[in-house]
């Protein structure tokens, strides 16, 4: 078997810095081996040590500018958990509003601007008949049982003209050097024009979502209205005009999610039905969810949530376990850290041990895949590799018989003439993200109403006071919730008013981790095995599969030291080929 070892670096259209190496059989064009590596490291957890716990949210948020506010809130929740502070109802709902807008923002930008060019051939759209695109829009809206976002042929004609002008420039800008014309682009020209029209319209909609976050958060990215104990934007939620503005934007976004995003998913499910049925890009099929979006006031770890927690193994929804944080361990056999044991997050060590690339041939550097090859650790749940994220949330919700989640998923599956197991695929992962967006788009306006009603009933509390000096003498806590890409946890230890240890375990760590101590693959790597590429020189199918997870790599790379080791004395191992 002759194979070729392909290096894809940088993987673009993701947050962060990622490299994929794939070994492809030159006879069958099938991927027989794959390695995933993160190539950037910052050490934010080290930076958090020694600081005022109330500052941590503002710094931890900077782990990521895409899922920005989710780290902000987790960090603040970890401190609130450590201090046993329960936030007021207004603060809970307002945080849900920000997170809800973030989920939709993240999912929309992910699909349209970071992922859709893996499915949509922009150049093919130039050949479309705009009248046919309008028919396609109506066709898939009918399947979905909604009105299409665009019901005027002129929209598609104008879009096509704009594209033609753009192409006539001779420079394609961000569309330059794409894989246009690749055989695995399956949409028709009219469908491509429809999808690319949505790509540009989504640019406007994502700004509306940014504005929603700013209305209660001050700005986006990196909002600034959450504090330990509650929120600061009391004036915004007391102003009915601001709340109406939020709700009006939410209704507009919902129209796009249902009339464009979901209809595009029905179109995708139809074009790529064979691949979905064949489970192309399925990965590990073990799904883990902690649970997210508290729907009631009270202890955040106990109240009812929008997304239910649980663990499903091997895609078998007839069996579901409760999530147990004690089952989480981390392994660094193949990560650039020094440790020999499986470690639980609270007791974990992280000592960077960069060993570099294995060798460089013809100016291409290759990862040392037998040894260490990534800045991402390999987390395990119950000694198993798991996937987290929207697909996991939909599958676990389904397995748990959650009425809301099951209702939305079944609605999609029946209209698309699909089965649940068909979602165990790259396209299915992408569709699950859209279904989840639809759920959030429906509930978020209820939350606005709930908040307005509470304010009208004269409850204007937005902050719970606490005695920092007393509580911060010796405390520890965690904030675990669902981020757009999956389960996200922050752990904090506090002594004498300052942070002594800080740790995050983030979604992309679960999904993008390298091999573990038993040589088992993580979700990204596993999903690539057996994948067939149309053209060995164009990694389109690889990108499509990796992008279906929505990589957020700056998040995934972090450094943990919960034992108070002096991280100022990093030892970098130079026994390498660099």
């Amino acid at each position: 078997m002759a194979t070729v070892h392909k290096v894809i670096d940088p993987i673009t259209r993701i947050e962060g810095h990622l490299r994929i190496e794939a070994v492809i059989d030159e006879g069958t064009n099938e991927i027989v081996d794959a390695y995933c590596s993160s190539t950037m490291f910052r050490g934010i957890e080290t930076i958090l040590k020694g600081r005022d716990p109330r500052d941590c949210g503002l710094i931890a948020m900077r782990i990521c500018g895409v899922c920005t506010v989710t780290h902000y809130q987790r960090s603040i929740e970890a401190v609130e958990h450590a201090f046993n502070v329960q936030i007021p109802k207004n603060a809970r709902i307002m945080r849900n509003l920000i997170q809800g807008a973030l989920f939709m923002h993240d999912h929309l930008v992910h699909y349209y601007h970071l992922h859709s060019l893996d499915w949509v051939d922009i150049i093919s759209a130039l050949d479309a008949n705009p009248a046919e695109s309008l028919k396609e829009a109506q066709k898939w809206a009918d399947v979905a049982g909604v009105s299409p976002w665009n019901s005027d042929e002129k929209v598609f004609a104008d879009m096509q003209n704009k594209l033609k002008n753009f192409v006539n420039k001779g420079r394609y800008g961000i569309f330059g050097n794409g894989y246009w014309g690749n055989a695995s682009y399956k949409l028709t020209p009219a469908q491509n024009l429809l999808a690319i029209t949505h790509y540009f319209q989504a640019l406007e909609i994502q700004k509306d979502l940014g504005q929603m976050i700013a209305i209660v958060g001050g700005k986006d990215p990196h909002p600034q209205s959450l504090v330990v104990g509650g929120i600061t934007s009391i004036r915004d939620i007391q102003d009915p005009a601001r709340m109406k503005m939020f709700k009006d934007l939410a209704i507009k976004v919902r129209g796009f999610v249902k009339g464009a995003y979901l209809t595009d998913m029905y179109m995708l499910a139809s074009a790529y039905a064979d691949e979905m049925k064949a489970g192309v890009g399925a990965g590990v099929k073990n799904f883990m969810v902690h649970g997210g979006f508290p729907l009631e006031d009270g202890n955040i770890t106990e109240v009812k949530k929008l997304f239910v927690g649980g663990v499903v193994y091997d895609g078998d929804v007839t069996r579901v376990e409760e999530f147990n944080p004690e089952m989480v361990t981390e392994d660094v056999t193949h990560a650039w850290y020094d440790s020999n044991n499986l470690e639980k997050p609270y007791d974990g060590t992280t000592i960077p041990k960069y060993t570099g690339f294995k060798e460089k041939i013809d100016n291409v550097a290759y990862l040392d895949t037998d040894n260490k090859y990534s800045w991402i650790k390999a987390p395990l749940y119950n000694d198993t590799r798991v996937e987290v994220g929207p697909l996991a949330r939909m599958v676990v919700g389904y397995a748990k018989n959650d009425n809301r989640i099951k209702g939305y998923v079944d609605n999609f599956l029946s209209r698309a003439k699909m089965e649940l197991k068909d979602l165990y695929s790259s396209a299915g992962r992408t569709i699950a993200r859209a279904i989840e967006s639809e759920i959030v788009s429906d509930v978020i306006t209820d939350w606005v109403d709930e908040l307005s009603a509470n304010i009208s009933s004269s409850d204007t509390a937005t902050w719970s006071s606490f005695s920092f000096d007393t509580l911060s003498k010796n405390a520890q806590g965690y904030g675990i919730e669902e981020a757009p890409r999956g389960t996200l946890g922050h752990w904090i230890k506090i002594e004498n008013g300052v942070v002594t240890n800080y740790q995050t375990v983030v979604p992309s760590t679960w999904n993008a981790g390298p091999r573990d101590y038993k040589g088992r693959m993580g979700a990204y790597e596993k999903s690539l095995i057996g994948l067939k590429v149309s053209n060995i020189d164009e990694p389109l199918e690889i990108l499509r599969t990796i992008h279906s997870f929505d990589p957020c790599i700056a998040c995934a790379v972090h450094i943990v030291d919960t034992k108070g080791k002096d991280l100022g004395s990093f030892k970098i191992n130079h026994n390498n080929n660099r």
Binding site: G176, N177, G210, G218, A461, T462
Partner: protein, 384 residues
């Protein structure tokens, strides 16, 4: 002197910025810009579209356009006589090629660029500049992406604006960040891509001053662009993230004059960073009257009182947030009831830590007074 009197004394004088440089200065600049635009117009266009027509197709009418031109001219602190030039610049700006690279970043500035909004025509212009390379948005990956970069660097040699997002790790020979099939370190990559740039725009506090990764103890030896590249014009647009309106202002100024805008000692454009947050703050009247929020969610918070006692760094932070705002003008942090955290100042995570505590006035908390050599690229500020 009472506490309030003291605060008033040290925080109340406006930062000085020269907004009127005299008629002859502007006449010279005007004529220079006109020549530059005439030259740009003669350059082989790789974009044949008529800008006003595009605006028309997008639903922007002439009046909106003129309104936007007026606003931009004012934002750049130019007199009204520059308005026709700004309008002409917008017609030729799509010939300014831009290469955007990411290092130790969180993509927050790229995300901010996506939200470019106020007014809405901004992002349209950003759409039609030639964005030759941008990792977050570009279609190709791997080899094809590297080819695209090489091609743009060759095609626009000496002409492109290089935008840099994220800090650059220098510790351990730069191993904390590599890019490309060859495993090139970020520092080598930056030097290579910078070599043929017309100018470099460092966006966000990480690329300008090291930002979060450079905060103590700076585990990776992270630093900003200007401590590595010494032989190119550099414009710093700090803030976390940088305001997209300021990114556009710099591009426009460069297109119009062929030069970088006037900068302060930290290489920040004066049109955006000439005044303190405090000088234009909507809550300033409460500072002067001595009305302060004393605890989150108190009556003062509901009334929109001054956030100084809750740790606002507005008095020592230079930026235009109060006037430019964010997300279609929806809000800004102080309007959301949270003090400014000083995110556009060097070393802010260390200097201003304990964000909820009032900022004492002393030299170390007044970055505007820092000579450039004192910026803690490799953080020297110990934790309290």
């Amino acid at each position: 002197m009472s506490d309030l009197e003291y605060r008033k004394k040290v925080y109340s004088s406006l930062a000085t910025i020269n907004t009127n440089k005299g008629e002859s200065y502007y006449r010279k600049l005007l004529s220079k810009c006109q020549k530059r635009i005439d030259k740009l117009k003669k350059r082989p266009a790789f974009n044949n579209e008529n800008y006003m027509q595009t605006l028309g197709e997008e639903g922007y009418n002439r009046r909106d356009f003129i309104k936007w031109v007026s606003a931009t001219t004012a934002a750049l602190m130019l007199p009204g006589s520059f308005e026709p030039l700004v309008a002409q610049t917008i017609e030729v700006i799509n010939r300014v090629p831009v290469i955007w690279v990411n290092f130790q970043d969180c993509a927050g500035n790229s995300e901010a660029l996506l939200r470019a909004d106020a007014p809405t025509v901004d992002e349209l212009i950003l759409d039609i500049i030639s964005l030759e390379f941008h990792e977050l948005l570009m279609a190709p990956s791997g080899d094809a992406a590297e080819t695209q970069l090489e091609d743009a660097m060759r095609e626009f040699k000496g002409d492109y604006l290089l935008f840099v997002e994220g800090s650059i790790p220098l510790a351990e020979n730069g191993v904390y960040g590599t890019i490309g099939a060859s495993g090139e370190t970020y520092v080598d990559h930056l030097k290579r891509v910078a070599a043929d740039a017309a100018a470099i725009v460092a966006v966000g506090t990480c690329a300008t001053f090291g930002g979060v990764p450079a905060a103590a103890p700076n585990p990776t030896g992270a630093t900003g662009v200007m401590s590595i590249i010494k032989d190119k014009p550099i414009i710093n647009i700090p803030a976390c993230p940088a305001n997209p309106a300021n990114m556009l202002g710099v591009i426009l100024m460069y297109a119009m004059s062929g030069e970088i805008p006037e900068l302060d000692a930290l290489k920040r454009p004066l049109f955006a960073f000439g005044r303190r947050i405090h000088d234009a703050c909507e809550r300033r009247v409460h500072f002067d009257a001595g009305n302060f929020v004393e605890a989150w969610g108190d009556e003062g918070a509901k009334l929109g009182y001054c956030l100084y006692k809750m740790g606002c760094k507005g008095p020592v932070t230079f930026n235009n947030c109060p006037t430019t705002k964010f997300n279609k003008g929806a809000s800004w942090p102080v309007a959301a009831g949270h003090g400014c955290i000083g995110c556009s100042e060097p070393g802010f995570f260390d200097k201003f830590q304990r964000f909820e505590a009032p900022t004492p006035y002393n030299k170390s908390n007044n970055p505007a007074a820092d000579p450039i050599s004192d910026i803690p690229f490799i953080s020297t500020v110990g934790l309290i």
